[in-house]
């Protein structure tokens, strides 16, 4: 009687045992990988909004400052979402019949707020403050990517804690100051870059590093030597930035 199982069966048995044993590990690995990728984090996915608002059109094409709508970005924890009234300050004069703006007009007429979908949300345990980041010269693009070039806004960064810590551990790698306008305060540096970018049709006056920053590339803005000087000049207490209670409380 021939043998029921040939020699290779041993390997199959071992293999399947090993596969079985490694299944939970694999499952966890797959789960972890999936949870860190854009379908779950919604990174780089434009979400549906009640009004297809274009940041690109309003900022770069029309030259409206970020702070026209996000009024409290320099002074408060929240950047502030514009009220319907802010939209209507222009749109009662222009595009008054555009069907795309129906929700805005409706909101204004009925006194009911527009409900936007939030893109960038940190967990409840994180107490993020916009004003202090702006006042220390952290560009909007560091966290929001090339927001000024977006037709429909999307989340550009994962907003994982490890991502926050990259800058909180080594802020010198993310510091920027216009070499031509060193006298500007860190806060003015942030907005100056957009003015430069917006004015400059050929885009040639921006340095490569500035282009990287404005295009939202996740890489170092300046050489670390200059960065360290900026960290010092701006009074950033690097050692304090990794205290838990700086962000959590």
């Amino acid at each position: 009687m021939p043998q029921l199982f040939n020699a290779a069966t041993n390997s199959y048995a071992r293999g399947s045992l090993m596969a079985f044993a490694s299944l939970p590990v694999l499952a966890i690995l797959v789960g972890m990988t999936l949870s860190r990728h854009s379908p779950n984090t919604r990174q780089n996915i434009p979400l549906e909004q009640p009004v297809p608002f274009s940041h690109k059109h309003h900022t770069i094409e029309l030259g409206i400052d970020c702070r026209y709508c996000h009024t409290s970005v320099e002074t408060a924890a929240d950047a502030g979402m514009p009220s319907t009234e802010t939209c209507m300050s222009c749109h009662q004069h222009i595009w008054t019949n555009s069907p795309l703006l129906d929700p805005v007009r409706q909101s204004y007429a009925e006194n009911k707020p527009i409900v936007w979908t939030q893109l960038n949300k940190v967990p409840e345990f994180v107490y993020f403050n916009h004003s202090v980041h702006i006042n220390k010269g952290v560009s909007c693009n560091q966290c929001h990517g090339a927001i000024q070039d977006m037709q429909i806004a999307y989340k550009s960064r994962t907003l994982f804690m490890s991502w926050c810590l990259e800058c909180h551990r080594e802020p010198e790698k993310y510091m920027y100051a216009d070499p031509a306008n060193k006298e500007l305060s860190p806060r003015e540096q942030v907005f100056n870059l957009y003015v430069k970018y917006q004015k400059d049709a050929s885009r040639h006056s921006l340095s490569g590093m500035e282009m990287n920053l404005i295009k939202g590339a996740e890489q170092h803005a300046l050489s670390t030597k200059e960065g360290r000087e900026l960290v010092k000049a701006r009074g950033i207490k690097k050692e304090q930035l990794t205290d838990c209670w700086i962000c959590h409380r």
Binding site: N40, I114, W116, Q118, H248
Partner: protein
Amino acid sequence: MNNTRGQFDLAAVREKLAGKSGRAYWRSLEEVAETPEFQAWVDDEFPNRNSLMQVDRRSLLKYMGASMMLAGLAGCRSLRLPPAKLVPYVNRPEEMVSGEKLYFATGYTLQGITDGIIVESNYGRPTKIEGNPKHPFSGGSSTSLMQASILDLYDPDRSKTPAKDNVPNDWVAFLGEARAWVADAAKKGGQGLAVLVPTVGSPSVMAELETIKRKYPNMVIASWEPAHRDRVYKGAAQSFGKPLETVYNLAQAKVVLSIASDFMSAGPGSLKYAREWAQSRNVDGDPAGMSRLYSVESTPTTTGAIADHRLALGAMGVRGFIQALAARIGVPAANASQVAGDAAVWLEAVAQDLEANNGASVVIPGEDLDADSISLCHSINQTLGANGKLVNHHSPVTWMAGGQEESLERLLASDISTLFILGGNPVFNAPASRKFGEFLKKAKHSVHLSPYLDETSRSSQWHLPESHALESWGDGQALDGTTTIIQPLIDPLYDTKSMLETLREVFGDGGDPGDNLKASWAKNGLSDKAWRSALNDGVVPNSKNPAAAVVAGMPGAQSPQDLGDGELEILFRADPTIFDGRFANNGWLQELPKPLTTMTWDNTVQVSPKLAEKLGIVSGDLVKVTTHVGDVTGGAWVLPGQAENTITIHYGYGQDWGDSLIAAGTGFNAYKIWNGSPVMMGSIAKSDGKIALASTQMHHYLEGRDIVREMELDALLHPHEGEHAEGEHHRDISMYPDPDKEFPYDGPKWGMTIDLNVCIGCHACVTACQAENNIAVVGKDQVLKGREMHWIRVDRYYGTKGIGEVSGKVKPTRADLDNPTTHLMPVTCMHCEAAPCEPVCPVAATVHSKEGLNQMVYNRCVGTRYCSNNCPYKVRRFNFLNYNDRKFSDFKIDGHNSSRDLRVRLMVNNPEVTVRGRGVMEKCTYCVQRINAARIHAKNAAAKGQREKPDPMDGEIVTACQQACPTGAIAFGNIADESSRISRLKKMPRNYSLLEELNTHNRTTYLTKLRNPNKEVEPA
């Protein structure tokens, strides 16, 4: 402790105390008796839990397996949360910045007296009450009751709609009926109509009532509440011929004698008196000018606890003491009585001290004394030259000053067909002897305005829901007449109206309450601009009543008091936390330990140790108290310092209006045996059974180590060699890493000092912390297990008399069970530089910040509780259950099911602080949210070139406890800054660190309590 309370012999306690030599401090009788139950409590970090050993092996494995599985599942809360929504305004209000707090000045009214408050508002939702620093009378501090009143706004039990015969109805129907009744009665000048209001101090309400009185001359208008202040006004009327408010100015006082008065913690004016008394203790400046405080009282109060000398006398004894003192000082008193024994020595010494400081000494009578005694005290103060200086008199600020008791009698004697009860809860809290419930039944129409569907509402034809003070317009006056406009922070959450609105709707023209108020103040000469600034500041300018120049007349004959029969005096007092019962449904106040008994969730029958010995009872035994009105059974509490044959009962508990979430099932109803007098005669008998009393006195016990420190003023002024060891700082070798080397940092280092010399144990800090840091209420069953969550607690120690060692000489100490010295000590996280909690955490959930804060990171915490076990100060609190999501029905031992929407109570939470869930350790953060806010403000200002250094300046950060403290006992700041106030305080010789020998290098330190004893009272 209490459900494990064993029987022990009080005589043995007495013996053991007598055997103690030197300084000794103790927290409870059980501790001195060293009962086995006490030892078990101390030995177990988390007592009263089921031991793991009680679970058999199989079940244990089952639970372990299940926990592991569930632990894995807990990680998968949701792989993908639905996207959040952003909802901006349509028209953003000018002052509203997303995420920024707004602050509004308004007023808080208790007993008809209004103090200034500032209310914090988050997105239009009031979240915290603090004192208004611009209010000249109450100042910037606050009381626990003031702070906690905000929780009532979000009480899920609040009545939401009017009800007729206990069936929901509406205001339109009510107003239709009520106006018809009034129109009907108007034909006879209001005959048969009656209005009953609680104590009213609002000028607008008073004006409205005056108008109504003129319009309907035959109508009966009465004003009554249990804690009315008739006796104060009557006492003044006896002395000065008219009722007056008495206001004390203690800042310059040298000698203060408090007679049965808790002037620093209770009653209107307590915030001012506490602040000024602390100034008179004056130790920040010149210690030699420190004032002296005597207290003679029947039942221990916080004022008695911090007094330099305290004498315990029964109520009649106190009366006799006042008469004897008056005679001794030279007031021609009609019947000077004799004071014998120790009290006579005491009296003579006090009288000499008072006379020696003529012009800087004052006697403060308690508001629960009889009018004769208060009048006599006015005469004493006049003789002492205090009138016009330390004592001022102003015209009364409440309606029917001195006539409330009579007005209630008048009402009860009248034939009433329509009765409007606008506030209060008289069916519950009118003295049983008055039989208010029967009176109410006789009225054809009865209406009750109340925040809850309570006893009175249920017995009335109509119930009307009352607005919270933070939802309504109004006004009120402080004791000296300083007027505050009460402005709403939020539209009424439900279909409610205030008393003023209801009066105007029923008897007047109605209209918008805000417009009405503004118009009536415009008539009083408040221009539009002045109105706005009054709203902004919280004070109507120049509204203080001028001090009346009055001279006390000859005191009349002291009429004997008729107190009824019985061998014991029974004192009736408003509860220190839930007051007359109005806060019975307020979780913060129910769980706030009462200052001296440390009792939560219950009232007790307070008996002296001697009486307890005689009756053979210990704390927790049920006793029956009988007066001529009736009898009631409650748990006894043996309270050292209580006068021997006097028992004290606090009223307000024992409410029974159905399925209230918090109030139901707590305490016993003292109103049932009351006739309205603060003192009655009665008897007490041991009853069968025991009650579990949730007292916190033994929780977080530090095993009798050297905790409280006190010294005599003499020792501070004339230090001897080696006596200042307490102020020295050791840097001994330690098993923990040297913090200076471990964390080199050149920024601010936060630190705190708590001055035990001026801490009066009022517990305002505890409530302030609870409100600021979203601290959960855990319920009586959990407090019994020692699981209360307060981040700051006030420990109460009893101590020996005498200090043991003064000026190098050993002085005998006297342990006294019946009248021990009492010490109060707030304890919170010490923020140790070498913190024992940190190295034992397996997941680094508690670590140090560069600024020296001992950080607790909730998201890392896995709940091993090692940190709490290793904390020498017992300041860490663990969330054994999901307290914030806990159903209210779980709060009491006899729970019940409830279907109401509880989400509304989440609205009180501070959005700047994480709400903790189950299985997480928490503790004092030094209000890190306030530090961060100040730090970011400083950084932003520095970046804009508005200031030089990006660090908060001294005084910019005020922690919640510090803000609330009426005496300024808590200081906070940057100890790296040599010029800061905190650095100055920490350099004082009185500065000491708790358990310094542990080398934990505490950032929170204490300033030794100073005693300023009179050698004549306690001869060396």
